[in-house]
């Protein structure tokens, strides 16, 4: 049974994708929230250099030495970029853009020079070969398991353990690095721990999805989840869900259209993101458009009561607290002013008294709430 499972090619391909997706989404959620998404870009490009150098030095194309050795390059990229930015000769964004292309270029040249001896070719650096992961297997407990599945499985366990054990610390360091430092949680160490694990995951996933498609798995599912929720644990769960959905749907669509499996899986993360961008219940563009009208009316309504409050019981009241003043002083169009007055009237915020607009107790309370909040 188990042997049959691990010998089914489609299952192994999907499993490789799912393991990549979950491992990446776990870390990606924190990278997104910390504003470090583009460091993934730098890391995943520059590990190409690490992979080829480790191969030249040790002759190993997979296994722990390869994964850890190559991952060092990823972290090195970030360290170099930060050092360069600290010299103040270039800004951080330019520093990132100087370091990783250089390492990537060096890696590609090394591959080209050693083209006859290395299992890599330049195309697979970009695309990965998830369709062929089942070719390279290793015996685990008497069962032949694809190397990629075994490596990614181990990486997933490490990532999951990291996130679960350090959940509280990660949460704090992400939302308030200052407080985390004050409490002795070493946000700097956590920062590099996340980046190291991202590097490790990128190397482990490299054979399957290549250098660039990996970025999609790290960044896009967590970003999609972020459009739907503000609760961290739910965001991580949703990100994992979107990653798995992208992998599975991407696999079948790729078979159907006979196109790149990895490319289709990454494209599907984009499809989920687009759907969330458009239709997310609170933050989606459609919801925003629907809300814009009522929201503007509410804004106007608040501006109106604030205006009335400012001039209530002042000599200028007779001039200011009229519909005409809204047009001539607030520079609203007459329909806009009428709509705001009607809305305020409907909500029992104002009333008309002797031809003047006056605040009702509820309106006064609303103004005080506004001003009280802004003074707090």
């Amino acid at each position: 049974m188990i042997t049959a499972f691990f010998q089914s090619i489609p299952v192994m391909i999907v499993l490789t994708g799912v393991l990549t997706g979950i491992s990446a989404a776990l870390l990606g959620s924190f990278l997104i929230l910390r504003g470090n998404a583009m460091l993934t870009d730098a890391i995943s490009h520059s590990i190409v250099f690490g992979i080829i150098v480790v191969w030249l030095l040790t002759g190993q194309t997979s296994g722990p030495v390869q994964v850890l050795g190559a991952a060092v390059t990823g972290v090195l990229t970030v360290v170099l970029s930060e050092l360069l930015a600290r010299s103040r000769l270039v800004k951080m964004d330019a520093a990132i853009g100087l370091v990783f292309p250089a390492l990537f270029a060096a890696g590609v040249i090394l591959i080209s020079i050693n083209a006859r001896n290395v299992h890599l070719d330049v195309d697979s650096v970009l695309l990965g070969e998830i369709g062929f992961v089942w070719l390279n297997t290793v015996a685990l407990f008497g069962v032949d398991v694809p190397v990629a599945v075994a490596t990614l499985g181990a990486v997933l366990v490490v990532n999951l353990t990291f996130v679960l054990v350090l959940w509280k610390e990660l949460k704090l360091a992400t939302f308030d690095a200052g407080l985390a430092a004050a409490l002795g949680f070493l946000p700097g160490v956590l920062h590099y721990a996340i980046l190291t694990l991202t590097s490790v995951t990128a190397v482990a996933a490299f054979d399957a999805v290549g250098a660039i498609l990996f970025i999609a798995f790290v960044v896009v599912p967590p970003a999609t989840a972020y459009l739907l929720t503000r609760r961290l644990w739910l965001m991580v769960m949703l990100a994992v869900g979107f990653a798995m959905a992208a992998v599975i749907s991407g696999y079948f669509l790729a078979l159907h259209w006979n196109v790149s499996i990895g490319g289709m899986m990454a494209s599907m993360t984009g499809v989920w993101f687009t759907l969330a961008l458009l239709f997310a219940p609170a933050q989606g563009l459609v919801a925003q458009a629907l809300r814009a009208r009522t929201e503007r009316l509410d804004h106007d309504c608040r501006a109106l009561v604030a205006h009335l409050f400012t001039h209530q019981d002042t000599p200028a009241m007779a001039e200011e607290n009229t519909l005409r003043a809204l047009v001539s002083h607030l520079r609203w169009t007459a329909p806009r002013a009428r709509a705001a007055v009607l809305r305020a009237h409907d909500r029992d915020l104002i009333e008309r008294r002797d031809g003047l607009l006056c605040l009702r107790p509820k309106g006064t309370a609303e103004v005080e709430a506004i001003f009280g909040r802004s003074n707090a």
Binding site: I32, G35, N36, A37, M38, T40, D41, H45, L84, S87, L89, V90, K91, D93, A94, I96, G97, L98, P101, A102, F104, A105, A106, V108, I109, S112, I113, A115, V122, D123, L126, L127, I212, L213, I215, A216, V218, V219, V220, A223, Y226, L227, A254, W257, N258, V259, S260, G262, G263, M264, M265, A266, S267, T269, G270, F273, L277, Q283, L285, Q288
Partner: protein, 382 residues
């Protein structure tokens, strides 16, 4: 030597070299504005996003036609820039997330389209792969006109709106307060970055294009303090890297142009960061050392003056060990020698002790007084 001359006089090699230099110059010129406006990584996202456009241009034209490929790349690049803006403005996702999303998803779609073209077969599909890493050798003579045209448009735009681009890049809020159409000017600048990418794709490919935008500008910034100088120098460095990379990859089999160009440009950046006058790291280190040396001179004089005042004797001889106790470090022999050669201190023997002692000269006494602001110690009458 004659082989090189023969190579350079070949028509194909000339085309490739001119093309590569032209592409490098355009990217360098426009990259300078991108770097100054901190849009370096936008260049990375837009260049990856050009891949689906390249493929679409290829599919529609039915082959490798530079015009349609450039139009396609420009179209998806522009779409990516718009999506970026939409995400940043209308959601709470940060810029870096928006960059990552646009970069990876557009690229993934490009990969899918690439496999569509490959399964369709056709003679030109290999030519398409060159857009991933660049292949200067694929530049045709007819391509030069297209590149030259784009370069000319970019150059004219930069010249025409020079002062507006400068103002918007330096201080957009002031420009807006002055009534300049800042949003439109910024859009033109972003469009020009997209244009530079579209043009540069041939040379370095979508993956490494960002380096051709950033590296020449980052190197040029170290050598000059004027915007004009930076833009010109950046274009020159871009042209040199492009031509150099094209030459190397044309003469070495199996080497894509892009990585070579990027490594040459990176080399120029590294040299610039190290030795550029006044800004370079070597220069900074030397300046820091001179400053330390100056302080060290001053502290030795001040310490000697302190001992002299303590003993009320301007010519009080101090032993090196005493100076070490007072300064915390042993004063370097070089510092003492330099002070002595400048006539500020002199070495004396202080029998019965045999180690050398140092005392302030009259000049040294006044120098120390000037440095510390305390009155000169009176010479004890002997």
């Amino acid at each position: 030597m004659t082989a090189i001359i023969a190579l350079l006089s070949s028509d194909i090699v000339q085309t490739v070299l001119i093309g590569a230099a032209l592409l490098g110059a355009i990217s360098g010129m426009l990259g300078a504005f991108a770097v100054l406006r901190r849009q370096s990584l936008l260049g990375d996202a837009l260049s990856h996003a050009a891949l689906p456009g390249v493929c679409l241009g290829f599919l529609i034209a039915g082959g490798r036609d530079l015009g349609s490929v450039m139009v396609g790349a420009f179209a998806t690049g522009a779409l990516a820039a718009l999506v970026m803006m939409l995400i940043v403005r209308r959601t709470s996702l940060k810029t870096d997330a928006a960059l990552g999303i646009v970069l990876s998803v557009f690229f993934a779609v490009g990969i899918v389209l690439l496999t569509v073209i490959q399964t369709q077969g056709g003679s030109g599909s290999l030519g398409l792969m060159t857009f991933l890493f660049g292949q200067a050798a694929a530049i045709l003579r007819s391509d030069l006109w297209v590149m030259g045209g784009v370069g000319l448009v970019a150059l004219l735009l930069v010249l025409a709106f020079w002062k507006e681009f400068k103002l918007v890049s330096f201080d957009a809020a002031f420009a807006r307060a002055q009534g300049f159409p800042v949003t439109a000017l910024e859009a033109v600048l972003t469009v020009m970055v997209a244009l530079a990418i579209v043009v540069g794709l041939q040379l370095v490919g979508v993956v490494l294009m960002v380096a051709l935008l950033i590296a020449p500008a980052a190197a040029a910034r170290q050598w000059t303090n004027s915007l004009g100088g930076m833009v010109v120098l950046s274009a020159a460095i871009g042209a040199a890297s492009g031509a150099g990379g094209a030459l190397v990859s044309a003469t070495t089999r199996g080497l894509a142009t892009g990585p070579v160009v990027v490594l040459i440009a990176t080399g120029i950046v590294m040299v610039s960061l190290l030795i550029a006058p006044r800004r370079g790291l070597v220069w900074q280190a030397a300046a820091a050392r001179r400053a330390r040396a100056r302080i060290s001179d001053g502290r030795v004089l001040a310490t000697l003056q302190g001992f002299a005042q303590m003993h009320d004797d301007a010519g009080y001889p101090s032993e090196r060990g005493m100076l070490q106790v007072a300064l915390g470090v042993k004063p370097p022999a070089a510092t003492l020698a330099s002070l002595e050669s400048r006539g500020l201190i002199r070495s004396v023997t202080h029998p019965p002790e045999t180690t050398p002692h140092w005392e302030l000269t009259t000049a040294g006494n006044s120098e120390a007084a000037a440095l510390s602001g305390e009155p000169e110690t009176k010479q004890r009458t002997k």
